[in-house]
Structures are given as C-alpha cells and as structure tokens.
C-alpha cells in the first residue's frame, strides 16, 4: 500500500469514528440545564440511582463505573459495585474516596442540596431526569459522549427508539382501551400523562384514564377510580406474582376491567425504571392490552 493510500485510510477512519480518535467529550448540558465539562472521557463514574446505573451500562461505560447507590441491581455486574449509600441520602465521603471523575445523579431520587457539595469539591455531577422515550435515548447518547463511546451509545439509542416506533406502528392505531395503572395500593396512586408509563400505554394504543391530573404521581380515592371506570387495570404490585393489589378490585364487579377480567400484573423493573428495558416492558404491556381488547 502506498504511503498516500495509508494516509487516506487513516483519514477515512478518522471521519468514520471522530469521537474515538478525538477523545474530547467537551461540554454537555444536563437535565437541570447545567453545563458539565470534562477534558477527557470519564473513566471513574459513581452512579447514584439504579436507573442511572443501567443507562451508563447501556452507553457502553459499565467498565468505568466504580461505585453505585443501593438497589443498583441491573445488569447483574452492577450488583458487584461498591455501594455509596441510599439514593435519598448518599455517603459523600464514600463517593469521594472512590476518586470519581463523574457522578451521575437522578432528580427524582437524589437531593440537590446534598449533591451540590460535590462540584464544590471538584467532582462534576451530571443530572438525569428522563420523562420521555426520547429523553432516555438522549441520556444514553450524552453519557456515551461523556465516557468516550459515542458511536456505540448512538447505535443503542437508535435501536431503542426504533423498537418503540415499531410497537407504536403495530399497536398505536388499534381500538383504544382505557387503562388504569396502579403504582401503589394504599394510598392508591397512579401516574399522569407526563409519566413514562403513561407514554408506554399510549404507544400500545391505550389511554391512561388519569392522563389529565396535574401531579406526576397523583393520589386517588377509590371513588374517583370507580367513576373513571377503566377497561383495564395494570399494576406491578409489590413484586412478582403478588395478585393482592388486583384482587381487591373484584369487590366491584361493575367495573369494566373486572367484568371483562382485564386485571394484569407486569414486571416492575421493566416499566417503572426509565431505562432501555422500558422497551421490553412496553412490549409486554402491548401484548396484555391486545389480550384485553379481545376480552372486551
């Protein structure tokens, strides 16, 4: 090969994967609108929520994790990570002792007042707050950029969104069913239209009966639920195979969901964590809603 040809090839490689050659993640904006700047890809990351841990693995940066908060249990490798406390009250000393070059926080789980100490001590904090499927994809892409795996992260994000779109095109235009998603039993809690679970219901061609409530995770009275008369009730319950949260509704045989026996249990981790596993959770939900349509 001529010297010129070699140069051309190197140049082409450079064009194909710019960020892996130029190891300069530069500056990105996080969910709080703050600028996070790194002068080299993060290689020692501490994740402060189970969801953030999953997204970091999805971005191809699992190897760079040096610590995680309690309950970071997926993928299985995450269980082996040193712990730095519970999300709502982390151990700053344990975090600093791991000498991280990036800490990833989650607005729904961590206290800003507490984590704001970290940038003061020279450790950048990147905040996540995914509320849409696009947010999840964008979060992984940004994490890929920060950790020096932009192409891999980009590809993963594209696959995830493509999967969601495929579900949307298969189920989105089906006969609409009215769905109640039960987050908790006592107090009775659900999600409004802003929540990702509600967006998953929408992708599957369902409508969340409480879409318009103002709070993200509203509390309800049983009376409100009976008045809304959903055709399907879905819950993750307290964990696998615990039907008690669904059984209670059988006391109200006039409920459309009870009359048609549309009471379904879903896997909690797949729908209630804003990560790529939402795709599996949404697929599971779509299948259940198809079953429900057949029974109505």
């Amino acid at each position: 090969m001529s010297k010129n040809g070699l140069t051309t090839m190197v140049f082409l490689l450079f064009l194909l994967s710019p960020a892996s050659v130029v190891a300069q993640p530069g500056c990105v904006h996080d969910a709080l609108g703050r600028e996070v700047c790194l002068d080299k890809p993060a290689g020692r990351i501490v994740s402060l929520s189970p969801g953030a841990t999953e997204l970091i693995f999805s971005a191809g940066a699992g190897d760079a994790l040096v610590g995680a908060s309690a309950w970071s249990d997926y993928p299985p490798e995450a269980r082996e990570l040193p712990r730095v406390g519970n999300s709502d009250r982390v151990d700053l000393e344990a975090i600093l002792a791991l000498e991280p070059d990036l800490v990833v926080g989650w607005t729904d789980g961590n206290s800003r007042a507490q984590l704001d100490r970290l940038p003061e001590l020279g450790v950048p904090v990147f905040w996540l707050a995914p509320r849409t499927f696009e947010d999840i994809a964008a979060a992984v892409k940004t994490l890929g950029l920060l950790t020096g795996h932009p192409e891999l992260a980009e590809r993963q994000a594209r696959d995830f969104l493509a999967g969601i779109e495929a579900l949307q095109s298969r189920h989105g235009a089906s006969e609409p069913v009215r769905v109640f998603y039960q987050v908790w039993d006592q107090p009775l809690m659900t999600v409004n239209g802003e929540e990702l679970i509600s967006k998953a219901i929408q992708v599957c061609g369902g409508t969340n009966v409480f879409t318009d409530l103002p709070r993200l995770v509203p509390r309800l009275s049983v009376e409100t639920l009976l008045a809304a008369n959903p055709e399907v009730i879905v819950t993750a319950g307290r964990g696998e195979a615990d039907q008690s949260w669904l059984e209670r509704w059988r006391d109200y045989p006039t409920l459309a969901a009870v009359a048609s026996d549309n009471l379904f249990l879903v896997s909690p981790d797949l729908l209630q964590r804003a990560t790529f596993r939402m795709l599996d959770g949404t697929r599971e939900l779509c299948d259940l809603l198809e079953q429900a349509r057949a029974r109505l």
Partner: protein, 324 residues
C-alpha cells in the same frame, strides 16, 4: 459554692466536646488511619485525604458542634422565658417557618445559598409574627406567647404537609432531605460558631438576672429586674440562635429540649453555669450523634435526629429516675 468549683463541670464538658470532635474527624466510611488523619490536618498527606478530612469531616464536625450548642442554649433560654419545662427552641414555630421558607425556594427551583437564606428569612418572619400576635392589643404574658407560638407552629406544620402533597416529584427528594435535618447543608460552619461564642459572651453577664427571672416575673420585678425588656431580649436572642441552627442543619429535634434538662439534673439550676454548659454539652451530643449517624451502617446514612433521640432518651430517663 466557690467559683472555681462551679466551673469545674464546664472544663469537663469542654474536654468531652473536644474528645467527640477528635473522634468525629478521625472516623468515617473512607477508613483513614489516625496517622493519615493527623497528616491531613497538618496539611500534608495525599490530596484525597486532605479533601476528606479538611473539606468534609472538619466543617461537618464544627457545624455539628455549633448547631448542637446553639440549640441547647436556645432551648435553655426558652425554658426560662416560658417557665415551661416542655419548651424547646422550636416550640414557638420557628423551625416550621424556616422549613416553609426553605421548601418554597426549592419549589421555585432554587438551590444552595438561596435555600439557606430563605430558611433564615422564614424563621425570622415566624419570630416577628409570633412577637406581634402575642403582643396583640392587651397585656403580654409568657403563656400568651406560648399559645400563640404553638398555634403558629401547627399552622406551619399544615403548610409543610400541603407543600409536600402538591410538590412535583423531582423536588421531593431534596425537600424530604431538608426536613429530616442534616449537619451538612451549609457549606461553612463559621456563622453558627461565631454566633455561639457571641451568645455565650452576651448571656454570661445576664446570668444573675436570668436566675431571678426563672423564679417568676413578680420576684424578678421585686428584685429590680426590668422584666419586659429582658423577656423580649431572651425571645429575640433565642430565636436568632435557633434560626442560625436551623439554617445550618435543618430542624434537628431533641437536643434543645433535653440537653438543658440533663445538665440541670447534673449541675443544678444556676443559669451562669447552665448556659455555657449547654453550649458545650449540646455541641458534644450532636457531634457524637452525627458521627454515629454517618458510620453505624455506612455507606447508608442515618438522619442525625434519630441518633440524638436514641442517645438522649435513655440518658435523660436515667438521670430523671435517679434524681429526687
């Protein structure tokens, strides 16, 4: 009692305080050796160790000591002012006012110094409100002040519950964290520390008048104490101490109620001894409690209020049982 003997407990308490501070600075989840800690304190050692000791543990220890001291002194003053053994620094609604201030600013999406400042503002607002309302149109009495304060406190409590119920999910972790109390909110312990020193210096010369006042306003007036200005002075002073404590560490319960009683059971009710003893004893208790809170089940962190109560309740009950 000769002066030197009366002040011997203070020396002991000062030593106890110092011992708890040394303990607090030298233990933590990072597991530095004593030699590492000493090296970091003298400015040598690795950069990581210096950060851990000088920027995390030391400010936190000092903040805990100052906050505990402020709360105990404020509690002792409130008990004298209201002549009610159940009085604590928060009985007149001050922590509720501070919490409403802090939570409001968090709801507005603010963070850091602004949250601290609005907590302080809320505390002062509550103080002035109770002051004005208790004054009313008629005559003023400590029981009227107490009643006004308790009702205002209940009002703040309701506002806090309402705010938590309607707060957006993303602000909740920060709000709950603030309400539980933690010694590490404020970046710097110095305002609290300086105020604690000032309070001790200002209160000491007034000790004799406070002793007389503790026996009741009529005796105090008969013995030549200018009761009304004195009472308002105590109220404003104690409120300022509490407001500073609350903005340093959120509302940490129990220290302000029980430390003054414990020390009275041990040392008698001479305000000239009790008030400085409260500054030292309250500080020592909170430093010890905070140390335990961050290491007992590390890396999980306990709210410090849990430990102050777990340490304080049995100690206090024992002292009370033993006393006659």
């Amino acid at each position: 009692m000769p002066a030197s003997e009366a002040f011997r407990p203070l020396v002991l308490l000062a030593l106890l305080g110092l011992a708890t501070m040394v303990l607090s600075v030298s233990v933590g989840s990072a597991g530095l050796s004593l030699a590492d800690t000493l090296a970091a304190l003298t400015g040598s050692g690795s950069e990581l160790n210096r950060t851990l000791v000088l920027e995390l543990r030391l400010p936190r220890t000092l903040a805990a000591f100052a906050t505990g001291g402020l709360l105990a002194v404020a509690g002792a003053l409130m008990q004298v002012l209201l002549r009610n053994p159940l009085a604590d620094p928060y009985v007149l609604g001050l922590s509720g006012g501070a919490a409403v201030g802090a939570l409001l600013s968090m709801l507005a999406g603010l963070a850091g110094v602004i949250v601290t400042a609005s907590a302080f503002g809320g505390a002062l607002l509550s103080t002035l409100m109770v002051f004005g309302l208790a004054h009313g149109t008629g005559s003023w009495t400590p029981s009227r002040l107490l009643l006004t304060g308790v009702v205002v406190a209940a009002g703040w409590g309701a506002v806090i519950t309402l705010m938590l119920a309607i707060a957006p999910t993303r602000d909740l972790p920060g709000m709950l964290y603030w309400l539980m109390g933690d010694v590490a909110y404020a970046g710097t312990p110095w305002p609290a520390f300086v105020l604690l020193l000032l309070a001790c210096l200002l209160v000491l010369p007034a000790g004799r008048s406070l002793n007389v006042l503790a026996r009741g306003p009529l005796q105090a007036a008969a013995l030549g104490v200018n009761v009304r200005p004195m009472e308002w002075g105590i109220y404003i002073g104690a409120s300022l101490l509490t407001a500073t404590a609350v903005t340093t560490a959120g509302s940490i319960g129990f220290v302000g109620l029980v430390v003054p009683h414990m020390l009275r059971l041990l040392l008698g009710n001479d305000q000239r001894v009790i008030l400085p003893a409260c500054a030292l004893g309250g500080g020592a208790l909170l430093v010890l409690a905070d140390t335990l809170a961050r290491v007992v089940i590390a890396p999980e962190q306990l709210p410090v209020g849990v430990i102050t109560a777990l340490l304080g309740v049995p100690t206090f009950l024992y002292l009370l049982y033993r006393s006659r």
